[in-house]
């Protein structure tokens, strides 16, 4: 999923747990994360933390933005992230190697080229678009992270593809209890185009 700026102290935030979403359009399903047990706080505090989070994100060029809901003081954070999954065949003179990696686009472009002749053919590269929303859930009184993965043409990733791409540290828990770790949901009204209340 990539790294995001940690919330600055003095408001430490436990890493979110997992939710899940797929699909496109208003009725897309989203993955949602929620915090561990005791970290409750109100919407104002959430907004304050988001402001700091966004400020830090801007400093490190991490792409998070704040969106305010129409006719409301409420809002949420969002970020879009593209990841390229190249399936490339790299031949050096003599040896050939098949490399399959999943790199953020910026890193893929920075791969140094060997002096020796390197023929690189990209077969079936796929660009995957991840969209993240961080909303405040007044039901749980915690922030909730929603994410959605799709191809550039809008087709959602299959569930198993999403699960394969989950960070290693969550994978064990995920594979043991996939449906407990992940919640498939429609994006709640807060983050849909129309104004919403929680």
């Amino acid at each position: 999923m990539g790294t995001s700026p940690r919330l600055p102290s003095p408001m430490p935030v436990a890493p979110p747990a997992l939710g899940w979403a797929t699909g496109s359009g208003a009725e897309r399903s989203w993955l949602s994360f929620s915090m561990e047990e005791d970290e409750f706080f109100g919407e104002k505090t959430f907004q304050h933390c988001c402001a700091e989070f966004i400020r830090h994100s801007q400093q490190i060029g991490d792409g998070w933005e704040w969106r305010t809901l129409k006719d409301s003081s409420e809002g949420y954070m969002c970020k879009t992230h593209f990841q390229i999954k190249p399936e490339t065949l790299m031949s050096h003179s003599g040896a050939s190697a098949c490399v399959q990696t999943c790199l953020p686009i910026e890193e893929a472009l920075e791969l140094p080229l060997d002096d020796s002749e390197v023929t690189e053919t990209t077969t079936g590269s796929q660009v995957i678009k991840y969209e993240y929303h961080v909303l405040y859930s007044c039901s749980y009184q915690v922030p909730v992270l929603y994410f959605r993965a799709s191809f550039l043409d809008g087709r959602p990733l299959a569930l198993k593809d999403i699960w394969e791409r989950i960070h290693e540290c969550y994978k064990t828990r995920l594979l043991q209890e996939p449906w407990d770790t992940i919640t498939q949901q429609s994006l709640p009204p807060q983050a849909s185009p129309s104004p919403a209340h929680c």
Partner: protein
Amino acid sequence: MTDDKDVLRDVWFGRIPTCFTLYQDEITEREAEPYYLLLPRVSYLTLVTDKVKKHFQKVMRQEDISEIWFEYEGTPLKWHYPIGLLFDLLASSSALPWNITVHFKSFPEKDLLHCPSKDAIEAHFMSCVKEADALKHKSQVINEMQKKDHKQLWMGLQNDRFDQFWAINRKLMEYPAEENGFRYIPFRIYQTTTERPFIQKLFRPVAADGQLHTLGDLLKDVCPSAVAPEDGEKKNQVMIHGIEPMLETPLQWLSEHLSYPDNFLHISIIPQPTD
């Protein structure tokens, strides 16, 4: 109170007579007869339509079948909404049976979630139950339960077992003796005339002076356009489980007796029929 327990049973055993017809453009090897079924109001479409699927797949070739989905008068039906909510919101002013069209092609990605398995329905159901308890009890009751209790809620719903379900669910309907109700009431208000899918807000069942809030109080606060002005004409029906509760009904009572198995009050605001 015996009367109140009857309400729980009436809600649980509510049924909607439904006629399922295969979409005319689906490819069949022979003519597909419509399929009639009494749908439980409190359940979910993909949980109770295995027989519907089998009935139509009998007349189709394997290669023409992909994920089943349902539609009413052009509107794809969200399987993750309870059946009774879908009917009240979309079809309650029409004559019975409820005519649903069955599709096996062209899944509307933009309108519907996929339902890959019964596990997906269970996960969605349990996630709603947990959210409701977060509102009612700061999740204390649901978290104190064992996993087998959670499983019993789901199995009770899946197998239409009222006693099995309520043996556990009654604990989710309790509140401390010193309080007059839950912390907040789990509810969602739906209207087809607005863009927003539903309204959900924090709302307490008891006012600061100890008075019980009513359904009318809730609507005035979160959805004032739905309620007619004092002397004005009634524009809308406020419907839960196919009935219009009196606006004076205490919200706490509604939450305890008219919630769906997911512990939410799913309330439909629909235009007053003109007949």
